[in-house]
Symmetry: C2
Subunit: 214 residues, 2 copies
Amino acid sequence: MIRILLVDDHPVVRAGLRAMLGGFEEFDVVAEAAEGAGAIREIERLATLGEPVDVVLMDLQMGAGMDGVGATRRIRAMPTAPPVLILTTYDTDADILAAVEAGASGYMLKDAPPEQIRAAVQAAAAGETALAPEVAARLMGRIRNPAPALSAREIELVELLATGLANKAIAKKMFISEATVKTHLVHIYDKLGVDNRTAAIAAATARRIIRGPA
Amino acid sequence: MIRILLVDDHPVVRAGLRAMLGGFEEFDVVAEAAEGAGAIREIERLATLGEPVDVVLMDLQMGAGMDGVGATRRIRAMPTAPPVLILTTYDTDADILAAVEAGASGYMLKDAPPEQIRAAVQAAAAGETALAPEVAARLMGRIRNPAPALSAREIELVELLATGLANKAIAKKMFISEATVKTHLVHIYDKLGVDNRTAAIAAATARRIIRGPA
DNA sequence: CACTGGATCAACCGATCGGTTGACCGGCGC
DNA sequence: GCGCCGGTCAACCGATCGGTTGATCCAGTG
């Protein structure tokens, strides 16, 4: 029996996973948590009971409190850390990279068919890595065809851009001249494949280069 | 018994709703669909069987094909249209207004406690309107505070604005002249207390008038 | 019926932005 | 050492945007 901890802020999703996984004989959903802090408490509680969690199923987007990436990092830092399988809605590059960097051992999408999720949980429990086919394909594509990455300075500028500042104001905040701001912008437009500042914000947000405005 | 049709592109969420609603004696989940077209087929199929759907539980965000708003509009246009209760993740003005305009009889959030969802489904089945407390509060605030509220047309424009379109492109999409776009923009800037388009996007996102760009 | 407010359009002008060209400097790799 | 690249700056010009004034139409409301 593989003992599973569900972490998701939506009761509906937790019920769905519980129902879906409960249909498989080898799984036992032993606990649930709505956010990161509760997940860590559950892991510790079950460990002292001699029934340690075998796999954590973690959502990335959680409203209040610690987010999925932070929770994953914290869990992986525990002495007897169980593998963490990410189960989320979005498959953006930034999300995937952040999750892997935080120590996740897999990345699945919520709209995956049950058998795929089953295989991923089994893989994670066995200490293996499991990526959803879509996610794997994305990473392969990225390696083969790397999108032009924004430099640190350019990302900094895009973040200010998204707050609605004009070029002059951005220049002041970044301690550079307005001319330099414009130069950076041209490079940014080029890399993102757009031709104006609002489209740049949309593109940068879509690619999760920045988080949404305000 | 209230016969329910679930419409959501995520198998996990459908399973969750099925499990949650199945726990209540008065509910019977008679069918599921992953998108709008399938939902309409199911409604027609069940009607011919003499077991018409009493309530449709509909997600707004659906990857491929018809989205929730379009599906709702199509369903409400049917001769024996069942009430449609929206069950979604986001509570932005744009989403809420679009859903209500399309004929939804309720708007609930997925992270709502089961009892709240239960009450909403019962209300919808009885032909009443059911709004999540958060949503209701938002609408109330809008009514009480008429000053800083964008009109439906203005919200529509802000949404296009956030995708990065220029005035001319927005004009084309909205079937109005560029002059009118500019007039709307002036009013929008005024209401949001900003003085350029990027700041308007930031403000509109922060106030949850729209969801984040693209 | 007059009034208000939302939506539509036009003309105009100054400010800002988009795009180019060209330049200088400092670090990194071959 | 030389080339490449990221970061910095300047000048210029056409396109777009911001802001104003003024106007028409229509749907509610008092």
